[in-house]
Symmetry: C2
Subunit: 488 residues, 2 copies
Amino acid sequence: MSESTPDWLHQRALISPERLAVAAGGERLSFGELEGRVNGVAGWLRAQGVGQGDRVALLLRNGLPFVTLVHALSRVGAILVPLNIRLTPAEVRWQIADVGARLLIYDSFSAATALKAVNDLADIRAVSVEDLSSSPGPSPSRFQLDAPHSILYTSGTTGQPKGAVLTYGNHWWSAVGSALNLGLQADDRWLACLPFFHVGGLAILLRSVIYGHPVVVHESFDPVAVNRAIDEEGITLISMVATMLQRTLDARGERPYPPTLRCILLGGGPASEALLEECARRGVPAAQTYGLTEAASQVATLAPEEALRKLGSVGKPLMMTEVRIERDGVPVEAGGEAGEIVIRGPTVTPGYDGRPEANAESFHEGWFRTGDIGYLDSEGYLYVLDRRDDVILSGGENVYPAEVESVLRAHPAVEDAGVIGVADERWGQAPVAFVVLRETIAESELKAFCAGRLARYKVPRQIRVVEALPRNASGKLLRRKLAVDSAG
Amino acid sequence: MSESTPDWLHQRALISPERLAVAAGGERLSFGELEGRVNGVAGWLRAQGVGQGDRVALLLRNGLPFVTLVHALSRVGAILVPLNIRLTPAEVRWQIADVGARLLIYDSFSAATALKAVNDLADIRAVSVEDLSSSPGPSPSRFQLDAPHSILYTSGTTGQPKGAVLTYGNHWWSAVGSALNLGLQADDRWLACLPFFHVGGLAILLRSVIYGHPVVVHESFDPVAVNRAIDEEGITLISMVATMLQRTLDARGERPYPPTLRCILLGGGPASEALLEECARRGVPAAQTYGLTEAASQVATLAPEEALRKLGSVGKPLMMTEVRIERDGVPVEAGGEAGEIVIRGPTVTPGYDGRPEANAESFHEGWFRTGDIGYLDSEGYLYVLDRRDDVILSGGENVYPAEVESVLRAHPAVEDAGVIGVADERWGQAPVAFVVLRETIAESELKAFCAGRLARYKVPRQIRVVEALPRNASGKLLRRKLAVDSAG
């Protein structure tokens, strides 16, 4: 039998019932109150027939209902499937069908998408979060650490999203590894302005009950509100991506941050040197992080005090995580040579849900191939050179070129398509497409075609017509060449 | 396969090679330097033929050799058996034979005891720690969390010590649970003035590498040196027993402690109300703790700020530890009724080494019966009323009456014997014996008989002659009645 623990929230409510658990949209709940709320929602879920192993998809903005549902799903043994609220109905439909969700819970923001997505799908019901009610829930049972807690969709080379299974153990070890890395202070208070459907946001919720620290929830990212929360609510920790941090700094002007703010965990892709230097100059404690959905968030983190000495590095691995660099499957020594970043440790997903080929490709001897390219310097600091599979990092969202290309190629006028990321002042990167046409068609028409099938952040900013795309002898699209050619 | 982690010290040395790891007797080693030292000692151990699963006993005072050996034994897959340096040769001999140690490593303080103990025992060699040398060690391998890390001897009703097996996982979860309880600060520095052969001392060593925090090692307890270390070395955490804390406070006078000292973990038995009130008055951050060898140290801890509101309580359980009270094997609700303290969680020993009957008695359905008596108040705070089996807590050492009684009864002049603890200003408690004699014998002669067979702290302070001992109908000695009668 695998290691097990008490239900996290239940145990936390026994230990510190009166401590603040969550502040969201004007409501403030202690751990004891949250436990009561969760118990009621768990009872409601059970009354809906949701039980052990059932998959329940959420299409929700950040807020108390999301927080409550995360813990209530655990209470009834169900598996959380948090969906990106920016997906189109077709994308949501594909993911809920793929995961075999039996319930989709949506809020007013996503109602139209949700109802279109489930339309005529068998075996799944869509329920508005406003229709949740409360009834006495089941008694908390123990969490088996190797049981699946959640399934988070992420894309890849194929352009088809895959659901990464994260176990209770993955999340637990991630919380512990992060605490050993960042420390744990009695006055800690984490601001959640990243969406909870991303692993970096979800991790904050779980850490909150494991650590016994409050989480302050913002419904969406607003740089002015972030600055206010830092000043007025004693925020000590924030998870952000580089574009969010830049906008937060811009909104603040030169007014210094209070010493209570001890760490901004900066993930979702590389921060520019200019941003890191601005942080150092202004005394903003930014910690560059390399994280993955498949590793329940943090893999490696650079301490803020090393930000300038190791400019551009994402630091050292978490205590229980091993990182190595491989070339053609063979590990290379630390000290410079670049290759694929390969990781191992208790935060790493047991695999993608229902994807035996992808799993066979991604795992070997307990190591997970990230697909990202990087190197370890002679002191063992990790540098990430290229995110996996030419992924485009746009405002904290991952855009997979292959996914956009396959939509473009589905248009009858398009013979071939290649997508790359180009620098964008606000979002870090934005997708740009290159197409070979069969017949003339307006750029706006192709964009509209994409917008009907892809979340807005995936729709190419520009679509340029070319004679041919650079491909190698075996026909593989050379996106890096496309980038160089387009810049030249 | 069970969960595994990288070798803790090796990973810590990769992550923070230059951070101070240990300060002991004028030497200061970084984690990188400690790793080098440990590698050399691991090589030496291997050259001695010590390998996977071998049991190696240490009879050492606190110091760098102890620290190095703890990690080096892990590196070669051997099991650490730390022995109490106050044991007599006969007691050491019994324990090393019982555990099947193949090597006993001693220092100058324990040389005579060690050599007498191993005299003519087959299959075990005694080696002086001064004869340790260095040769290149094996590469670090992963730690399986369910593999035994150490065996610590503890006594019980039978009077015969039993070796509690502690796995890597027990120690790991203890470190994590303690961090979630006490927090983790970048400037943390733990003072080890408890012996490393006790679980509370050993835990500090393992936490040091897991947390990446320095440990300042004192060879033995010296209240003046403790006060100096707090003032001059930035000590933030100390583990102590009540008598040590009282002597430390007495030695200091009224001079306040610096704010860097954030927690004194107070274990090993109840602290007096007078001491707790003195701590509150003087702003000394003492955290009463209930710990057990069998649970890799902390089970429950009371936060210093609650010391007066919950006077005498040992607080709430660690995050992953469950505590309940049972009467006749049936759990009782929190809120007042006293019974046996029963615990469950990942820090709890898998069992006593080679003691199937004791294990059958101590475990049921994953719960461990501590033998201690206590209750949970309506808010879930634990109070310990009586330590198990009338154990006498003398200056941080456990004295088991049954063990002392069986020595007394072995004397030809003694027909029956009963041992209890009486209040002692310096040590908290001291053992006192009541004997029924067959023939007249001087108290001094009986004490000398005990001193030849028992560590000094176990030898009765007084031996009183009585007509008969109070026993119940089935012949069980009523020690509590003995205590009342002797007081009256």
